[in-house]
């Protein structure tokens, strides 16, 4: 530290406060750097779905049905896992960590708004999810001969399913962060619903082979509709016959995912807090 005198503050009026958007973009840049520089985040949050896809796809080398290999079905379904990982788990663990390590408290002591903080998280989720989906599709194309759809309609479906899925998972991740006691436990706690729902929603196994009771329960949660809609995008339409209702049910998927966005928003508003009350 130096002992020199500091320049005097000017007595004129101060410039206006930075906008929430500007602060949010700044925060987003920091979030991205922190995420992609963290070995834990890159390995467990980002790479894990692709590793699981490689393993499951290689193990299930046979056909699902209709001459379509199971690995291709898995690739489509596991985009849902990618989003769960980079949106739901990433946000749930990330906010718990921010609360624990003092990030939130420090930001609370600055002019940064809650909106700017969440803008930063949204930027992180958006970039990480796009990269995640790209990696999963690359694994599908390179390892399992996945054909990417050529019809614009399929990509339009992909875009809105992706958007609704990311929004719902992010909001639910923010809400779930309030339930976790520490960043360390958050990863374990959040993985329970993520893994369980994927089993009963036909992500890890072919949906046609699941007991009816399971898929009925799964119908209440977003994961089944995410996976089903991504299958609608990346599998031939003849495969719809293997689904629960015998069709892709994209309208229902939109309604359920939209409803979870609303539920997630309400839960966020009810549960978010800047600091950990338990820390006293």
């Amino acid at each position: 530290m130096t002992t020199g005198t500091l320049p005097r503050r000017t007595t004129t009026a101060r410039p206006p406060l930075p906008s929430t958007l500007r602060s949010g973009v700044l925060r987003g840049g920091a979030e991205l750097r922190m995420f992609f520089r963290s070995k834990e985040a890159v390995l467990f949050t980002f790479s894990f779905p692709a590793i699981i896809l490689l393993l499951l796809g290689s193990i299930n080398s046979g056909e699902a049905t209709e001459g379509v290999p199971m690995s291709r079905v898995l690739t489509a379904s596991m985009i849902a896992y990618g989003i769960l990982s980079t949106a739901f788990i990433n946000i749930g663990v990330g906010i718990a960590a921010d609360r624990e390590d003092g990030s939130l408290k420090r930001l609370r002591g600055t002019p940064v708004t809650a909106g700017a903080y969440f803008t930063g998280k949204v930027i992180l989720v958006a970039v990480a999810t796009v990269a995640e989906v790209a990696v999963l599709l690359a694994v599908g194309v390179l390892a399992f001969d996945l054909d990417l759809p050529t019809e614009p309609g399929k990509w339009l479906t992909f875009a809105w399913v992706l958007a609704l899925s990311v929004i719902a998972c992010t909001l639910l991740g923010i809400a779930a962060s309030a339930l976790t006691r520490s960043a360390r436990s958050a990863g374990a706690v959040l993985n329970v619903p993520v893994l369980a729902l994927q089993f009963i929603s036909g992500v890890f196994v072919y949906v046609g082979s699941l007991p009816k009771a399971m898929v009925d329960v799964a119908a209440f949660f977003p994961v089944r509709w995410m996976a089903q809609s991504f299958r609608a995008v990346f599998l031939p339409d003849s495969m719809a016959a293997g689904e629960v209702a015998g069709t892709w049910q994209l309208g229902t998927a939109a309604l359920v995912l939209g409803a979870w966005c609303v539920v997630g928003t309400v839960l966020c508003l009810l549960t978010f807090r800047w600091t950990d009350r338990r820390a006293g």
């Binding site: 700044l26 750097r33 003092g102 002019p111 700017a116």
Partner: protein, 277 residues
């Protein structure tokens, strides 16, 4: 104008009363130290002033506003140096300081602050690679980057080596010269004595004494201890007039080992918090 005004502040956690009627005035431009043992209510009081906690009773004005309802413009004029943050581990020092500079309307220069905090050599290093004392300097850098009118320093030099503490004191003095009001909580009495214009001692949720480092708790009027040795042996006298006592000694003839000891701030402090029975 007063930077901080507190009247009858109270805060309870369940059956435990953390703050039991604190009155406090910190004038603008002043370095004010809040001393007290752990659990005395220091952190609760400062966190209410910083807007982190809600109070149960009393009046609080910080830079003219009530922290419970003050908004972003108010926060832009505060600098807060937290005690235990371990965030931003994967970012470099410069990236972190630059990020926070962007949150304020009129920040200091990023490199200027890094230099002021003695971090120039570490500007490109990841925060996770810093020592505890260096990490603390980053906290200070983030506290002053927004050019605050009022700076809260919560035990800022914990983990500093003696040289780093002296350098930090120089930084605090420079900020004070610039007109920044500083509320300092510390365990180090020499730090309070070196930096504070005024200080208060808090114990069991109450302010038990207030004054300058040289008058607090009656330090200036408390009896001094004069000790000396002469032909008849060692002597010790407690007197409110040590100068008179020494003058008398000088008339009586040769003495050796003459010492006049005024109570130190530590003596006064330990007395005030009841650590000395």
């Amino acid at each position: 104008m007063n930077a901080i005004e507190v009247h009858g502040l109270r805060k309870t956690y369940g059956a435990n009363t953390a703050v039991a009627g604190v009155d406090l005035v910190v004038r603008e431009g002043e370095v004010f130290a809040l001393l007290g043992p752990n659990g005395a209510g220091k952190t609760t009081t400062t966190e209410i002033l910083e807007g982190y906690r809600e109070r149960d009773g009393g009046e609080v004005r910080v830079l003219g506003q009530d922290p419970a309802t003050a908004g972003r413009h108010w926060r832009a004029e505060l600098g807060i140096v937290l005690q235990t943050a371990t965030d931003s581990a994967e970012l470099s020092v410069r990236e972190t300081v630059r990020q926070f500079a962007g949150y304020y309307p009129d920040p200091r220069g990023v490199d200027e602050v890094i230099e002021l905090c003695g971090l120039t050599a570490k500007a490109g290093a990841r925060i996770s690679s810093l020592s505890g004392g260096q990490r603390r300097r980053v906290d200070v850098a983030l506290g002053i980057i927004g050019r605050p009118r009022l700076l809260f320093l919560d035990e800022p030099t914990t983990g500093f080596d003696p040289e780093a503490r002296r350098q930090f004191w120089d930084l605090v003095r420079a900020l004070a010269r610039e007109g920044t009001t500083i509320l300092l909580t510390t365990h180090y009495l020499d730090e309070a004595e070196a930096l504070a214009d005024r200080l208060a001692v808090i114990a069991a949720g109450r302010i038990v004494a207030e004054g300058t480092p040289f008058t607090v708790g009656g330090r200036d009027t408390a009896p001094a201890t004069v000790t000396w040795t002469d032909v008849s042996g060692a002597h010790e006298v407690r007197t409110v007039d040590p100068v008179g006592a020494v003058t008398n000694l000088a008339r009586r003839g040769p003495v050796s080992g003459l010492q006049v000891r005024q109570p130190s701030l530590e003596d006064i402090y330990l007395d005030l918090i009841g650590a000395k029975a």
